[in-house]
Amino acid sequence: MSDQERPPFFSTWRRMYIAVLVNLVLVILLFYIFMIWFS
């Protein structure tokens, strides 16, 4: 089974993983802003 399949939107899997982790950081940041804003 091929491991060479490229991910969508990103040229490498490594970049895809980084995007997922950056998204996590942004989500935590957004939640924090949400909490502060409404509290």
Partner: protein, 565 residues
């Protein structure tokens, strides 16, 4: 329930079952039955992974949890995206390349038969019981609120799942999970819209959130490091990471989902899809609970949400005491309205100082109501030692039954059924896979035909289905054992993950070392649990670290290594 609710409920469930059986019809082989012939695209893999994890309790419990305790539970999932990335890098390519049916098959290739057998056995014991509770947990709530017979509810829910899981195998499981998730999404969206619609007219959505925030229910993030605190950013990121790695990497009910992907890339995308969607989804469900809290600031909530227990106390000698607490609760609720009016006016005028002050006053009244809630729970226990006093899981469904219109009630009950069935089907499929591949085929009949294993897989699925329904039937006689069974998974997950981590990252360590390291690590985890050393999530890390550490020590001092080098 009205007849329109019954039509919506039965129609939705029958459509899902018939559609699943029809779409997965045709000649099958064992590969097709256990892994959908490894042909599933990423979105089916991703939704299947999410549907497997999200059981009925997720949708019943999470809004109730936010109502009682705020939204901090969402932090539990912060380790999930990191776990998805690690699985994509390590587990997925290896499982795919080795062409395994189960995660445990890999352990024999890497270590030996006894390590494979030990992990497969632990999985079967824990998941077999958990599968029964996946059926039982929503059944007990539905039977309490709707007055249904719990045995028929268990039988109906479990029976429907067995029909399509036996008929269509993994393909039917994945296809029905797509429909089930669609029902869940539509149902929860409608519930959220209805809650917002039912909020007071003078309160906008943003102002409602401010009321929730000022009263401490939007406590989404807590950066304070505290080992005893189950839900903060660090326990979620670190403890949650190890729990999610264990669950998604070593539990066959999840491994089977992404092994059905048609390529390594499609399996990876399915996992990453889950990594991106899961946290916002959980946040949305908790937000429904926070909005429900705001709704109940303006509508008198019951003192206790479990009607069965309320009826029991009402018909007991303690009824006068209970009624006094109810009257007191109504009195405090009325007093709270003054502060809530002040809070709303302050929010509308943008006066931060006043809104903070009124928020504190309203919260103090809410705390008084919480104390009365605790008192009524004690009263229930005094009346009946076995009383189910935790009503968190009843908050959402109680609202649905009291305030939603006909048709929507049926849809929301269909959501509960769909969520339970989507988890149960994956569990049955995984239990059958592990029993056939890791036990029957490996230890009893290695040279059977493909057709033979297919028949055995179907029989095994039926037998596990019967077992799960029986566990569900007898679960209400298990008392506090239920909680123990729920914790059982977390007690073993860390150790099992440790075995896999050693397998992947420490090539020098041999099977015998990791086997004995796992036994010692498990004893360490049980001891830590016994003395209540830390919050639950950290046990996953302790178990995993102990296996790695002890197996490295054993392989370091072993004469085998000396001979080898």
């Amino acid at each position: 329930m009205s007849s329109i609710d019954w039509i919506v409920l039965v129609g939705t469930l029958l459509f899902i079952v018939v559609y699943g059986v029809w779409k997965s019809r045709g000649e099958k082989n064992i590969d097709d039955f256990l892994l959908a012939d490894r042909t599933m695209p990423w979105y089916v893999v991703g939704i299947s992974i999410m549907a497997t994890q999200a059981s009925a309790i997720t949708f019943l419990s999470a809004p109730g949890q936010a109502y009682m305790d705020g939204m901090r539970f969402v932090q539990f999932y912060f380790g999930l995206p990191i776990a998805m990335v690690i699985l994509c890098v390590t587990f997925v390519p290896i499982f795919h390349r080795l062409n395994v049916y189960t995660a445990y098959e890999f352990l024999e290739k890497r270590f030996d038969l006894k390590t494979r057998a030990l992990t497969a056995f632990l999985f079967l014991v824990q998941r077999g019981l958990a599968c029964g509770l996946t059926i039982y947990a929503p059944s007990i709530i539905l039977s309490s609120i709707l007055g249904w017979n719990i045995y028929y509810t268990n039988l109906f829910m479990g029976g429907l799942v067995v029909i399509y899981t036996v008929a269509g195998g993994t393909k039917a499981v994945s296809i029905t999970q797509m429909q089930q998730m669609a029902v869940i999404f539509i149902g929860m969206l409608m519930a959220a819209i209805m809650i917002v619609y039912l909020l007071p007219e003078n309160l906008s959505f943003s102002e409602s959130l401010k009321v929730a925030g000022k009263m401490g229910k939007l406590n989404v993030i807590d950066f304070k490091f505290d080992l005893k605190n189950q839900y903060n950013v660090w326990s979620g990121l670190i403890g949650g990471l190890f729990l999610m790695l264990s669950y998604f990497g070593t539990d066959q009910s999840q491994v089977g989902r992404y092994l059905s992907g048609k390529s390594i890339g499609q399996s990876r995308l399915g996992l990453l899809f889950n990594g991106v969607i899961k946290i916002p989804m959980q946040f949305s469900i908790l937000l429904i609970g926070a909005l429900l809290f705001v709704f109940y600031q303006f509508h008198q909530p019951p003192l206790h949400f479990n009607n069965v227990e309320v009826e029991k106390i009402n018909n007991s000698l303690l009824a006068p005491e209970y009624k006094a607490l109810v009257a007191k609760n109504e009195q405090v609720f009325k007093e709270k309205q003054v502060y809530l009016d002040g809070l709303i006016q302050a929010i509308k005028s943008g006066d931060e100082e006043k809104s903070a002050a009124f928020g504190v006053l309203a919260t103090s009244k809410q705390t008084e109501m919480t104390s009365l809630h605790s008192e009524v729970k004690k009263l229930m226990k005094k009346n009946d030692e076995t009383a189910e006093t935790n009503d968190t899981n009843y908050v959402f469904l109680s609202f649905v039954m009291r305030f939603l219109p006909a048709g929507l009630i049926g849809l929301l009950i269909a959501v509960i059924f769909s969520a339970s069935m989507s988890s149960t089907s994956s569990e049955l499929n995984a239990l059958a896979s592990t029993t056939v591949v890791d036990i029957y085929k490996r230890m009893f009949k290695q040279e059977g035909s493909d057709r033979h294993y297919l028949v055995v897989s179907r029989i095994t699925t039926v037998l596990w289905g019967i077992y799960a329904i029986l566990v569900a039937m007898f679960a209400n006689q298990m008392g506090s054992l239920i909680e123990a069974v729920n914790k059982l998974g977390s007690l073993f997950y860390g150790t099992i993950l440790g075995i896999f981590v050693v397998a992947f990252y420490f090539k020098r360590v041999k099977g015998a070392f990791v086997f004995y390291a796992a036994l010692v690590a498990e004893a360490v985890v049980l001891y830590c649990f016994w003395i209540e050393l830390t919050a639950f999530l950290w046990l996953n890390l302790i178990g995993c670290a102990a296996v790695v550490f002890i197996s490295l020590i054993l392989s370091g001092v072993s004469p085998v290594r000396v001979n080898e080098t």
